[in-house]
Each structure stands twice: as structure tokens, then as C-alpha cells.
């Protein structure tokens, strides 16, 4: 039993070490800007642009639901004027970064894992290595940077669309006063405390989710079973990591 725990712990630490080495190798791989920028652009297209639809649709609906739920609660206290800040703060501080990260893990993260895993299974990575091309630089690094740049942008879009959704339901449908919806929101939302903290969160999530997704693909057992397992692990691990880190960051940022 004790041996079992020890063995598991050691293998976890070893895995973490391999993951760190991979990330280190990818970030500090000798950069060749003329060649790597087109690769990063290509990957932003794959992980960022192609995630736009799901992010915008989810953002809109989550904003609308927030407004509807918030309204039914706030109206009991006659505080429906606080609907604006409630929707905006929930989105900017929590839901924007977190839901974007979860959707990103499901949409782009799993695809990254499967793609890299399949490259490994079909010996594309080995063959690249045999051509004296470093796969960390050619395959891993562009994907990492693409995720790193895309996710904060996606999170901003998510929050903006969500607030618009909240406006649609709150103001257009439920009849909260438009002026107070925006002005109370503006009075209560702070650039550095709310928007910047949300931004920091989404940067952290971007690093973690992309890292997990790429590492799971790069480290998978190159069989169809191994790839499917790695893809599942990507979604599970990155979701758990996002939620856990979110709690930690929230304590650091907003806890007193």
C-alpha cells in the first residue's frame, strides 16, 4: 500500500518533470522569427479563430441567463438596479476566464492533444527529428504561443458578449432602466481590480490548459487507445486545474 503510494507519487513527479522540460524546450528553443511567426499565425487560426463561434454563443447565453436569474433574485430586494454590476462582475472576474478556459480545453485543447498524438503515432514527430528539425520548436512552440495569445482575447470577447446578452435580457426584455444598468455597472467595475485580474486569470489558464493539452499529446502512448486516453486526460486535467487555480487566484486577488 505504502509502496503503491510512493510509486504513484514518484511517477507523478517524473511526469511533471518531463512536462516542465518539454515546456522549457519549447519556450527557449532557438527562435527563428521569420519562420515561426507564420506557424504561430496558422495555429492561432486553428485554436483561436475556430473557437470563436462556441465562445460567442456561450457568452451570449451565459450573460442572458445571468441577467434573468439575477433579476428574479434582486427584484425581491428592490435592487434590480444592481443587475448591471452583478452581470459584469460575474463575467469579468469569474465566468469570462473560467468558462472560456473550460470551453477552450474542450474545443481546442482536446484537438491539440489528438493532433500531436496522431503525429506521434504516425511517426511524423520521429521523422521530423530524423530530419534534424526540433519538433519542440516546429510543432510544440507555435501551438503553445497560439494558445497563450488566443485565450485572453477569447475571454475578453466572452465577457463583452456576455454583458451584451445581459443587457438584452435585463434592459430590453425585463425593463431595467438602461441608464442605471450602465451607470451602476460603470461605478462598480474597476479597470485594475476587475478587468485586469480577470485578464491575469485568463493568461494563467491559457498557459496551463495549452501546456497540459500539448504535453498529453506529446507524451501519449502512440496507439489509438493511448490517444483517446490522452484526449480525455487533457479535458479532465485541464478542467480540474482551471477550477483549482481559479480558487487559488480568487483568494489571492479578492480575498482579504
Amino acid at each position: 500500500m505504502i509502496t503503491q503510494i510512493g510509486r504513484t507519487a514518484i511517477s507523478q513527479v517524473v511526469t511533471l518533470g518531463r512536462a516542465a522540460l518539454m515546456l522549457f524546450g519549447a519556450i527557449f528553443a532557438a527562435p527563428n522569427f521569420a519562420k515561426s511567426i507564420p506557424l504561430v499565425i496558422r495555429q492561432i487560426y486553428v485554436v483561436g479563430v475556430q473557437s470563436l463561434a462556441i465562445i460567442i454563443v456561450s457568452g451570449l447565453f451565459i450573460g442572458m441567463v445571468l441577467a434573468l436569474q439575477g433579476y428574479t433574485i434582486l427584484i425581491d430586494y428592490g435592487a434590480e438596479n444592481s443587475l448591471g454590476p452583478m452581470v459584469a462582475l460575474s463575467l469579468l472576474r469569474e465566468l469570462g476566464p473560467v468558462v472560456t478556459a473550460l470551453l477552450f480545453a474542450g474545443r481546442a485543447g482536446s484537438a491539440l492533444t489528438a493532433e500531436i498524438g496522431l503525429m506521434k503515432a504516425t511517426e511524423q514527430i520521429t521523422s521530423m527529428e530524423m530530419m534534424a528539425v526540433d519538433p519542440l520548436r516546429r510543432i510544440v512552440a507555435p501551438r503553445f504561443w497560439a494558445g497563450f495569445y488566443s485565450m485572453p482575447l477569447l475571454a475578453f470577447m466572452f465577457s463583452a458578449v456576455g454583458i451584451y446578452g445581459g443587457h438584452l435580457v435585463g434592459v430590453e426584455w425585463l425593463g431595467v432602466d438602461e441608464g442605471s444598468f450602465w451607470s451602476v455597472m460603470q461605478a462598480n467595475v474597476d479597470l485594475s481590480a476587475d478587468i485586469m485580474n480577470g485578464f491575469i486569470k485568463s493568461v494563467v489558464f491559457a498557459i496551463v490548459v495549452t501546456w497540459i493539452a500539448i504535453f498529453r499529446g506529446y507524451d501519449c502512448i502512440p496507439t489509438s487507445e493511448g490517444i483517446s486516453k490522452a484526449t480525455t486526460q487533457t479535458v479532465v486535467h485541464s478542467s480540474l486545474a482551471v477550477l483549482g487555480l481559479d480558487f487559488l487566484l480568487t483568494v489571492l486577488m479578492f480575498g482579504e
Binding site: I41, I44, L153, L154, V189, D190
Partner: protein, 155 residues
């Protein structure tokens, strides 16, 4: 290798992303001017600050003129000392002004209401670091109820 279509969409993606950020920063937070503006500090002692927090707004007639920057305890008298950051555009607050801890709505957030005093001969304006003397503490619900029951017994 990178086709024009990909470049176009990525460009659009980045532009929309930054647009979303600026919309949030200026439309939703609308604090581009506020949080970067200069402030000067005033202090005030209270008997009880209730649920007042750092960053709670300070309002004059509902207009935000500053925020609470820190809350400390006076080590000698054991009363809370609240430090206020007032935006420099609101100079000239008379010494006779009073400060009370108010609540937005029944269960809302607590904020500081600043009631500007009258300016008469011999009354100066508050400067950086000055204390506001006239303060009203927070209404604590339990105390209110206690007082209410006590006055009932008197009748």
C-alpha cells in the same frame, strides 16, 4: 504556406479581441480616467465601521468622489481609522463636512456618504492628511434591534 484567408481571419480575431478589451475597459468599467487620476488623502475616525471595506466608494450626493484606501485601528484609543483617497478634482471640501457610513439598499454594499459643510468665515478647507472630525458610525442591525426593544420596554 500561410494562406491569405488564414491571415485575414487571424487579423480579424486579434482586432476583435482588442476591441472587446477596450469596450470592457471604457464602456463597462469607464474608469480609464478615474483610476488613473491623482488623489489626496483624508482620514476619519469612526466608532464602528460596520461592513465598510477597502475600495468602498465615497459619494457626495450619489457621485463617487473617491475610494477608501485603507482601514487601520488606532493603537492608542482602539478606534478604527479610515483613510480616504479623494480625487484631486474635488478640492475644497470644508472642514465642517460630515462623513457617515451608509448602505446601498436594504442589503447592499456599504459606502461613505460625504455631506459637505457650510463655508463661513474662519472655516478652512481640508488638506492632504487632515482628519474629518464629524463622523457617524455604521448602523449595526443588532444594535438597532436592541435599541428598539429597549425603547419598547420603556413605554
Amino acid at each position: 504556406m500561410t494562406s491569405r484567408k488564414v491571415e485575414f481571419w487571424v487579423g480579424l480575431f486579434i482586432v476583435v479581441g482588442f476591441l472587446a478589451f477596450f469596450t470592457l475597459a471604457f464602456e463597462v468599467a469607464n474608469s480609464g480616467s478615474v483610476s488613473s487620476s491623482d488623489t489626496y488623502q483624508l482620514k476619519a475616525k469612526f466608532d464602528n465601521i460596520g461592513g465598510l471595506k477597502v475600495r468602498s466608494p465615497i459619494k457626495v450626493g450619489g457621485v463617487v468622489v473617491g475610494r477608501v484606501s485603507s482601514i487601520d485601528l488606532d493603537k492608542v484609543n482602539y478606534v478604527p481609522v479610515v483613510t480616504l483617497d479623494i480625487y484631486t478634482e474635488y478640492q475644497n471640501i470644508p472642514e465642517t463636512s460630515s462623513l457617515s457610513i451608509l448602505t446601498a439598499g436594504l442589503l447592499g454594499e456599504q459606502y461613505l456618504g460625504l455631506e459637505p459643510g457650510f463655508v463661513i468665515e474662519g472655516v478652512g478647507y481640508l488638506k492632504d492628511g487632515d482628519f474629518l472630525e464629524d463622523t457617524k458610525s455604521a448602523l449595526v442591525l443588532e444594535e438597532l434591534i436592541g435599541q428598539f426593544l429597549f425603547s419598547q420596554n420603556d413605554d
